[in-house]
């Protein structure tokens, strides 16, 4: 049910600046995304296996939805599963959507 919701949201946001899950439009990091939109994670690229698997356990892995709530210059707030998280710049840039 959640997944369906994520896809719907994406379809709605497709017209805006690269907001959809579409390989043709290329990929971007969380910091380039639109707040309020839900995206599907394409790739997690932290160069750190332990960090990757930690993110995995939170439900943040390839193919899962992630919602950007707000972003600042050096950080952003996202919703993964049903939890809100604050991510720093480095981590936001390592999550490719």
């Amino acid at each position: 049910m959640e997944l369906a919701y994520a896809f719907n949201k994406n379809a709605a946001g497709a017209g805006t600046k690269g907001g959809s899950y579409d390989a043709a439009e290329g990929s971007m990091t969380l910091l380039d995304a639109e707040p309020g939109q839900t995206y599907i994670i394409k790739e997690i690229n932290t160069d750190d296996d332990e960090m990757n698997s930690f993110l995995f356990r939170l439900g943040c892995y390839q193919g899962e939805p992630i919602t950007l709530i707000s972003k600042k210059k050096k950080s952003c707030i996202v919703v993964i599963k049903d939890g809100r998280y604050n991510l720093d710049k480095l981590l936001s840039e390592a999550i490719i959507i």
Binding site: E2, M51, P65, I69, K74, K81, D88, L90
Partner: protein, 675 residues
């Protein structure tokens, strides 16, 4: 019988544990409050006739640990063979929590799921079909609200009745090579899709988590890099003002005034009763025990108000936001936002602060935080600050604010220093912090936590500090031949001869008097001792009564008794605040750092910092107020320069070692490439 409490961070394990055992362990609204396992007997009303021990474990997201405190949990449930496991599941985040649940269910130990925080779900219109979930997971599921004691009795009764049975897992991990990363990944994905399937089946949500809500707006302000930091500074300033400063907000001071009044009356009464007794008896009882301990206990109200406010802050959910907003600043000095939480806890007591550093993943970062966190003045240093602020600065609020601010500055400088010594240049340091839902802090918990700490404070004053004061009193009354020292020959007392060599070292700092050196030394046993010992050696307690001082011209009177000017008083205060903490905290540092080198480095750094700060304050303070440097400027300068030289040498040695390793690493890589 042992029942382990396991679940995701911030799911309410410790709150439940406290409700079931009647304990008052630290709770807070962020992930990672509990950093060690705790155990205690269940209350009779829950356990019946059986002896059941509840074991509270740190939160974990899975069986594979990411930070040291997560490792404690997975190791415990794997190796300690508890008779049953209560898996606390945050009902507002079922989709994430069940991942760990399915892993716990594989252990063969009977599991009972406590679907906690169901009150929040009710408010948000989220429904979870507990019966269906129970059928899917193959284990009993109970809806609970641990803050209101709801559903706990049934849940724990079931867990007790299941002990000894064997759990059948609804999902079993395939037999894979655990060293094969891809296989593990694929297996974890399968597990998550199993969990997602269950969640889709049992949960219906009215409000979706991904929708922006009111608290997001609040968070956006609190996490703003400029506004957020200003708000944080304002909040902490308010905490210190309310607890320690005089003024309309100064609740702590009002109570303190009452308290010290009673204690002094009592001391006066005791002294009057002993008018005709030998001086030594009166000195020990009236000055040492009543006066010394009373001086410490007199500041209890300040400490209590402080603990109360900090408990409220910890309970509402603000800590995670502070950690996030401070992250970019702490990153600049080689730490991360996670280091903020120990610092705030450190305003209460350094020991839990040092232990809270366990949530930091990177070892260098963790040790650095452990080393520096005690620069923030703890609750035991409040009496020292209050005493000096009252006696020398007319009770000015800026003294305590300055002490905390300088503590933070020292943490930053220290972190920069350690960063440059350990040769840390670039390493990816990620920061992720769950932002928990805001909650109205529980007044009941705050009051309980405050009373608990007050009790510990009084016990400490009545045992350790009392004995120290008595010893100090005896040691200053007698000389080495066990004769009572005569008036005018105080320098021959045992205490004076022991403390004098140390006092000699303190001359460049402006307070090379044996009495002050003795107080600083007893401060290592417990920082409150500084106040107790000063009260004892100067046979003075009236100097604590700030109002009285204000009338009699204050500072100058005390200055003549203690041989301190305002500048030297400030130097002495800072010396006591920023030298190593008490032995108990040093012990905690030792067990957390697990490295002799780091421990001695920490003690050395703290001693050096305390000495240097006091030196600078005294010498430059004297320069400004009197137009020349204070006594012992040259020897002090030499001492400080020696410390700097030692730092440079250590840094060189450490870095040379790193370069060596790096070269080896490169050579190995090159060899691999050619082969």
């Amino acid at each position: 019988m042992r029942i382990a409490f396991a679940g995701n961070p911030n799911s309410g394990k410790t709150t439940m544990y406290n409700a079931l055992t009647g304990r008052n362990e630290k709770i807070g609204n962020w992930g990672g409050v509990t950093v060690g396992s705790k155990e205690f007997q269940l209350k009779k009303e829950f356990a019946g006739d059986k002896e059941v021990i509840a074991v509270d474990l740190p939160g974990a997201y899975s069986m594979s640990p990411f930070t040291p405190e997560e490792g404690i949990t997975s190791e415990y449930v794997r190796t300690a063979n508890p008779d049953a496991i209560v898996n606390i599941v945050d009902a507002t985040n079922l989709s994430r929590s069940l991942f760990f649940t399915t892993q716990l269910l594989e252990l063969g130990i009977p599991v009972v799921v406590a679907l906690n925080k169901t009150d929040i779900n009710e408010k948000e219109g989220t429904k979870i079909d507990a019966a269906k979930l129970s059928a899917k997971l193959n284990c009993p599921v109970f809806e609970t609200v641990s803050t209101e004691n709801k559903g706990l009795a049934e849940m724990i009764a079931k867990a007790i009745s299941l002990a000894g049975t064997i759990q059948k897992a609804p999902y079993l991990q395939a037999d894979i090579d655990l060293h094969d990363k891809n296989a593990v990944d694929a297996e974890d994905r399968k597990r998550y899709s199993f969990v997602n399937g269950i969640v889709a089946d049992v949960e219906t949500r009215k409000t979706l988590s991904a929708e922006t809500n009111k608290t997001d707006k609040l968070d956006s302000v609190l996490l703003n890099p400029i506004a957020g930091i200003i708000i944080f500074a304002a909040v902490m300033f308010a905490v210190f003002q309310i607890s320690q400063a005089e003024g309309p907000l100064g609740i702590g001071k009002i109570f303190e005034g009452l308290f010290t009044g009673w204690i002094e009356t009592f001391q006066g009464w005791v002294a009057a009763q002993l008018e005709n007794s030998p001086a030594i008896v009166s000195a020990i009882l009236a000055d040492g025990i009543v006066g010394g301990v009373g001086a410490v206990v007199g500041f209890l109200p300040l400490v209590m108000v402080m603990y109360f406010l900090i408990a409220l802050l910890e309970d509402c959910g603000y800590m995670a936001r502070v950690s996030a907003v401070m992250d970019p600043i702490f990153k600049r000095v080689g730490l991360s936002g996670k280091a903020v939480i120990p610092v705030i806890i450190g305003t209460g007591c350094g020991i839990p602060a040092i232990m809270a550093c366990r949530t930091i993943r990177d070892e260098r970062e963790r040790r650095t935080s452990t080393m520096l966190t005690t620069f923030i003045p703890c609750g035991a240093k409040i009496p020292v600050i209050a005493l000096f602020a009252g006696a020398f600065f007319n009770g000015a609020g800026w003294v305590s604010t300055l002490s905390y601010f300088l503590g933070i500055v020292l943490i930053f400088l220290g972190a920069l220093l350690i960063k440059s010594i350990t040769g840390y240049k670039y390493r990816k340091s990620f920061f992720i912090m769950e932002l928990p839902k805001w909650k109205v802090p529980s007044l009941k918990y705050a009051v309980r936590s405050m009373l608990e700490r007050a009790k510990a404070y009084i016990i400490k004053a009545a045992t350790i500090i009392l004995i120290c004061n008595t010893l100090v009193q005896v040691m200053q009354t007698f000389n080495w031949h066990f004769q009572v020292v005569e008036e005018g020959a105080e320098n021959t007392s045992i205490l004076a001869t022991i403390a004098s060599p140390f006092a000699f070292l303190l001359i460049p700092l402006g307070f090379g008097v044996w009495q002050l050196a003795a107080a600083a030394i007893t401060g290592f046993i417990a920082k409150e001792n500084v106040v107790g010992t000063l009260a004892t050696v100067f046979a003075l307690t009236s100097f604590i009564d700030t109002e009285e001082l204000a009338m009699t011209g204050g500072a100058s009177t005390v200055a003549t008794t203690m041989g301190l000017t305002t500048v030297t008083a400030l130097a002495y205060l800072f010396f006591n605040l920023y030298t190593p903490p008490c032995f108990a905290a040093i012990g905690a540092m030792n067990s957390e750092m697990k490295s002799r080198g780091w421990l001695w480095g920490a003690i050395g750094l703290q001693l050096g910092t305390g000495y240097t700060i006091a030196f600078l304050v005294y010498q430059f303070g004297t320069l400004f107020t009197e137009g020349h440097f204070g006594t012992g400027f040259i020897p002090g300068l030499i001492a400080v320069l020696c410390m700097v030289a030692a730092l440079i040498l250590i840094g060189r040695k450490v870095r040379a070692h790193f370069d060596e390793q790096y070269q080896l690493h490169k050579a190995a890589k090159a060899a691999k490439a050619t082969a």
